[in-house]
């Protein structure tokens, strides 16, 4: 029995448990989705079942399985809950269907959403002179980010993400990544130690607390032609300063700058959010983003070093640090 067959069997049993024997659920067309993501293994499948009223349902689904140790280890529950809570918010997300955090059914925790058409292709970002479709998607992204950051989370299950104060939002994120630094580094990295110290001394106060995607960028969204169809990869979702997402979204390695200059992106965001973005706070979060990505890379490198993953994409990730830290020092010199 191959992996797809085992997943078919496990998913069918899971759906019988969730929907009942009378629903007669069936799972077909289980297939691995080609992905360069690291924290989740994405699979597609089709589920059919009968409602209590006797209606036939057919749903094309995407399942995200918790991957082995890698660059980040995050629980699936908060990610699934965030996607579910945002369903009618105006933020483009896939419809959340089912979640199993126990790992009892497939050997690993997983959650399932409805299939959303689109691609996450990054190649068009690098086209000299820009691409009109990417420009349009980037503007959609600016508006989606604004809607996410204006979403009233206080009356939803998102409070479980951990409420922070405006004064503590930046420091909470910093503490989380600095703790990772102490735990994951394989050598002293003095330039990163200084970076964390500088960030702590200069931490901004948030204008308000919002849902923060945590990894908002091209590569973590789906687009179909010139329209953004869904924001995906919510594994770093948390409550915090909305500017955090803006400090991440145009980093050099995934920037759509060639198709839409950052200032135009910010203008679209500010218009939709009806709130200005403080440029000093933005610069702090841009610098923070370089330190954060440096830490993601070091975590990946350590996972391979300890053989908790054998994914070779993680093996040499420490190589990325000079570029990220160069950028950090460029930003704080401005």
């Amino acid at each position: 029995m191959n992996r797809a067959d085992r997943l078919t069997e496990g998913l069918t049993a899971f759906l019988v448990d969730r929907l009942g024997v009378d629903a007669a659920p069936e799972v077909t067309e289980v297939a691995l989705i080609s992905s360069v993501g690291n924290a989740r293994d994405p699979w597609s499948f089709t589920a059919t079942w009968r409602s209590p009223e006797g209606n036939e349902h057919r749903e094309r689904c995407v399942m995200l399985l918790q991957a082995e140790a890698g660059q980040l280890e995050t629980a699936l529950g908060p990610e699934f809950n965030a996607v579910a809570a945002l369903e009618d918010s105006g933020v483009p997300v896939a419809r959340a269907l089912w979640c199993d955090e126990t790992g009892d059914w497939l050997g690993q925790p997983f959650f399932v959403t409805a299939f959303v058409p689109g691609t996450a292709a990054m190649r068009p970002l690098r086209v000299e002179g820009g691409v009109p479709e990417i420009r349009s998607v980037a503007l959609d992204l600016a508006r989606a980010a604004a809607r996410l950051h204006n979403f009233d989370w206080s009356q939803t299950s998102l409070v479980d993400l951990g409420v922070v104060t405006p004064e503590g939002a930046a420091l909470a994120q910093l503490a989380q990544w600095e703790e990772q630094f102490d735990r994951q580094r394989l050598e002293p990295h003095p330039s990163l130690a200084y970076a964390f110290s500088w960030l702590r001394s200069n931490a901004p106060i948030a204008s308000h607390i919002s849902v923060v995607h945590g990894d908002l960028r091209f590569g973590n969204l789906l687009y179909d032609d010139d329209r953004l169809t869904a924001l995906v990869d919510w594994e770093m979702v948390h409550l915090g300063d909305p500017v955090e997402d803006l400090g991440w979204v145009y980093r050099r390695i995934w920037t759509p700058e060639r198709s839409l200059p950052f200032e135009e992106f910010l203008a679209a965001y500010e218009h939709e959010a009806a709130r200005p973005v403080d440029r000093e706070t933005l610069r702090w979060y841009q610098a923070f983003s370089e330190a954060k990505h440096a830490m993601i890379s070091l975590t990946a490198a350590r996972s391979f070093f300890e053989r908790s993953t054998l994914n070779l994409r993680h093996a040499d990730r420490a190589e990325t640090l000079p570029a990220f830290l160069d950028r950090f020092y460029e930003l704080i010199a401005q």
Partner: protein, 152 residues
């Protein structure tokens, strides 16, 4: 035996895998592993040529910079005995005609540990040495960049 050099061999291995293996593999996890391995082999091919000189330069630069910064602002050194010990070790290793890469690596870890502690003191204390420190970081990062092929 000088030719082919380790760098030539590694580059050749990467070329051979890219030309003869990758095309045979379907998209997916196995192909991704091979592509990542090819990237690492190429990185090692490039780094092999410059690894020793970069370590040597780094040790020299950090040793001299730490000395200069500590002389200008002694308050940035919290543990003077440890600081002096690392400096003495550095002078001893660098005084040899041909320090090995292993010796340089071990020494560099010590020096960078000391530099990390000094850096945090400089930042916390608002020392005037921050400019010299950031300039040192820029040189270190430039040298580290020479060991990599990262497009980022």
């Amino acid at each position: 035996m000088l030719r082919p050099s380790p760098s030539d061999l590694l580059e050749g291995v990467a070329d051979a895998l890219a030309d003869t293996v990758v095309g045979e593999l379907e998209r997916g996890a196995v192909r991704n592993q091979v592509l990542a391995a090819i990237g690492i082999v190429r990185r090692c091919a490039a780094a092999t040529e410059v690894h020793g000189p970069v370590l040597y330069e780094d040790v020299l630069d950090i040793t001299e910079s730490l000395e200069a910064m500590a002389a200008a602002d002694p308050a940035i050194v919290q543990d003077q005995a440890a600081f002096d010990a690392v400096q003495a070790q550095s002078h001893e290793v660098m005084g040899r005609a041909y320090p090995s890469v292993t010796e340089l690596s071990a020494l560099l870890l010590e020096l960078r540990g000391t530099l990390g502690a000094v850096a945090v003191e400089i930042e916390h204390g608002g020392s005037a040495q921050s400019e010299a420190l950031v300039a040192l970081f820029a040189r270190i990062l430039e040298r580290e960049g020479r060991l990599g092929l990262s497009p980022w």
